[in-house]
C-alpha cells in the first residue's frame, strides 16, 4: 500500500533519513514505531558499507603483511561486520514486530537487531542509553506527542540525536491543492481497491492534516529539551525530517 500511495517514494524518504543520520559503526540506534523494520534494515546496510570501507582502508595500509596474516585478519573482522552497531526496534504492535522479524529472516539480517514491544509514551528502557532515536511515520499516531518527545530525550545519551520522519505541511498553495486533491480523491480509492478499506485510508489522510506543521513540531521538540532543532522539507513539505540533539 505504501508503494502504491507514494509511488515508491517512501523508500527514498527513508533512505534520506538514514543518510542524514550518517551512522558510524558502533552506533546504538533506537527505532520507535518501526515495527516492520524499514529503518532498521537501512541502518544495518549503511553501517555495514561504512565498516567495509573502513576495513578496505585498513588493508591498504597493511600491504606489507604476508598473505597468511591478511587471511587471518579476515576471520577477525568477519565477526565484526557491523562493528558493534546495534538497532533496537520498538513498536506498540506485536503484529508489526512479527512482520519485521519475518522480513529480517527473509532478507538475511541475522545480527545487530533486537525487537522490543513498547509504547512511545512510556519506553521500557533506562535513561541515557541510545546514540540515536528515530521515529519514522509513527509520531503522528501517538496520542501525547509531548510525552513521546520527553521519553525520546530521556533514553538518549548526552550528545545523542533525535530524528523524526513524518508527513508535514505543504506551504506552496498550488502544490498544496494538488496534494489535497490527490490525498482526498485518490488515496481512499486506493485503500478500497487494494486493501478493501476506505475508512482507514480516509482517516490516514485526515490525520496528516491534523498533525502539527513544521514550526510547531520544532517548538514541541525544543520544549522536550532538545537543542539545535531543525527540519528539512522533502518534496516541498509533504514530508519533513526534524532533528534535535540532547546536549
Amino acid at each position: 500500500m505504501n508503494d502504491s500511495m507514494t509511488l515508491g517514494i517512501h523508500r527514498v524518504w527513508k533512505d534520506i533519513l538514514v543518510h542524514k543520520m550518517n551512522p558510524s559503526p558502533g552506533t546504538l540506534l533506537l527505532d520507535v514505531a518501526g515495527g516492520t523494520g524499514d529503518i532498521a534494515f537501512r541502518f544495518i546496510n549503511y553501517v555495514r558499507s561504512v565498516r567495509e570501507r573502513q576495513l578496505q582502508r585498513k588493508l591498504r595500509h597493511h600491504q606489507n603483511l604476508s598473505w597468511q596474516e591478511i587471511a587471518e585478519s579476515y576471520q577477525e573482522d568477519k565477526s565484526k561486520s557491523l562493528g558493534d552497531s546495534q538497532v533496537v526496534v520498538c513498536d506498540i504492535n506485536k503484529e508489526m514486530l512479527k512482520v519485521g522479524k519475518q522480513r529480517a529472516q527473509h532478507l538475511g539480517y541475522t545480527e545487530g537487531l533486537s525487537w522490543v514491544l513498547g509504547n512511545a509514551e512510556e519506553l521500557p528502557f533506562d535513561d541515557d542509553k541510545f546514540d540515536v532515536y528515530t521515529i519514522a511515520f509513527g509520531i503522528r499516531n501517538v496520542t501525547r506527542i509531548d510525552l513521546a518527545l520527553q521519553e525520546a530525550y530521556r533514553v538518549l545519551k548526552p550528545g545523542g540525536r533525535f530524528l523524526c520522519l513524518e508527513f508535514s505541511h505543504v506551504s506552496n498553495p498550488l502544490l498544496s491543492s494538488l496534494y489535497d486533491l490527490y490525498s482526498f480523491q485518490v488515496i481512499p480509492v486506493l485503500g478500497e481497491v487494494i486493501a478493501g478499506d476506505w475508512k482507514s485510508y480516509q482517516y490516514l489522510v485526515e490525520s496528516i492534516r491534523r498533525f502539527p506543521p513544521q514550526e510547531e513540531l520544532k517548538a514541541m521538540i525544543e520544549d522536550a529539551g532538545f537543542l539545535k532543532v531543525d527540519y528539512q522539507n522533502l518534496n516541498s513539505g509533504i514530508v519533513a525530517i526534524h532533528s534535535g540533539f540532547k546536549l
Partner: protein, 254 residues
C-alpha cells in the same frame, strides 16, 4: 464534508478500522454509506474493474463496480419494481434474505423440487451463505441502495432457478442472464470478461449452449426483482421458472 474527530492513538501504522458511530460526513444516507465525489466514483469504477478482473475472488470489487456504474440501471430497475404489484410490495416491505430471517429447518423439510428445498440444497452444496453479501457503500440514494442489495440477495435464487453452481462457469452463465435482465454494467462486464479465466473446453460449452439459453431466458423472463421469493418457498422450481419465463436449463454438467 469531512468529519473532524479528536486524534486518537493508533496501533502500528494508524490503519485500523474506525468505530461505526463515526460518520463519514454530513451526507450519510444509510448505515455504511460513504459519500463520494464524481471523480472518486470514476476512480473507484476503474480501479474495481481492473482489480475484479485481476483477482476474481475479490467479490468486494465486483460489488463496488456494480455500485459505481449502476447510476442508470438502478433507477430503471427501481421503476420496474414500482410499477409491478409484487415489486411494489417488496420496495415497501424491504425484505432481506439472511440466515437470521430464514427458517432453515423448515426449508430443509420441504419436498424436493420446491424453491425452499432447492435453495437450501444450493447453499449447502456450494458451501455459501446469504450473509456474505456486501452491503452497499457508494450508492447515493437510499432506495437504490436497497434495490442493489435486493439484487445481490436474489443472486442466489438465480443460481437455484437457473440450476447453475458457483464455479467460474456457473457464475458467468448467471452473469449473462443478469446482464440481460438488469442492464447493470457490472453484469455486462462480468459476462464479457468473466470467460477470460475459463478453459477452451468450457468456453465452447459456454458459447454454444449455455449463453444462448441464458440470453433467451433473460429476454423472455419478467423482471426477477419483482418476485417475492420469501413467500414462494413451497412453490416448485419448475412452476416458478414457467411463471417467470425462464427456459429449462440445458442438460449439461457445469
Amino acid at each position: 464534508c469531512v468529519s473532524h474527530s479528536e486524534p486518537r492513538a493508533r496501533d502500528g501504522h494508524g490503519e485500523e478500522e474506525e468505530e461505526e458511530e463515526e460518520e463519514e460526513g454530513c451526507y450519510q444516507l444509510y448505515p455504511g454509506h460513504i459519500p463520494t465525489s464524481p471523480l472518486q466514483k470514476a476512480l473507484l469504477a476503474a480501479g474495481s474493474a481492473v482489480m475484479a478482473l485481476y483477482d476474481p475472488y475479490r467479490h468486494d470489487m465486483v460489488a463496488v463496480l456494480g455500485e459505481t456504474t449502476g447510476c442508470l440501471a438502478l433507477p430503471n430497475l427501481r421503476d420496474k419494481m414500482k410499477h409491478h404489484p409484487e415489486g411494489y410490495r417488496i420496495l415497501q416491505e424491504r425484505p432481506r434474505i439472511r440466515l437470521s430471517t430464514l427458517d432453515m429447518t423448515r426449508l430443509r423439510g420441504l419436498p424436493d423440487g420446491t424453491l425452499g428445498r432447492e435453495y437450501v440444497r444450493f447453499l449447502e452444496d456450494n458451501k455459501v451463505s446469504p450473509d456474505t453479501r456486501m452491503p452497499p457503500k457508494f450508492v447515493d440514494d437510499e432506495e437504490l441502495a436497497y434495490v442493489i442489495q435486493r439484487y445481490r440477495e436474489v443472486h442466489d435464487m438465480m443460481h437455484t432457478l437457473l440450476g447453475m453452481p458457483t464455479n467460474m462457469l456457473g457464475e458467468v452463465v448467471v452473469k449473462w442472464f443478469e446482464a440481460v435482465q438488469t442492464g447493470l454494467p457490472m453484469c455486462v462486464l462480468g459476462a464479457a470478461f468473466g470467460p477470460i479465466h475459463l478453459s477452451a473446453r468450457k468456453l465452447q460449452v459456454l458459447a454454444t449452449e449455455l449463453v444462448p439459453w441464458a440470453i433467451r431466458s433473460g429476454l423472455n423472463a419478467s423482471c426477477i426483482l419483482n418476485v417475492y421469493y420469501e413467500q414462494r418457498w413451497e412453490q416448485s422450481v419448475e412452476s416458478l421458472r414457467e411463471e417467470i419465463g425462464i427456459f429449462p436449463p440445458p442438460a449439461i454438467r457445469v
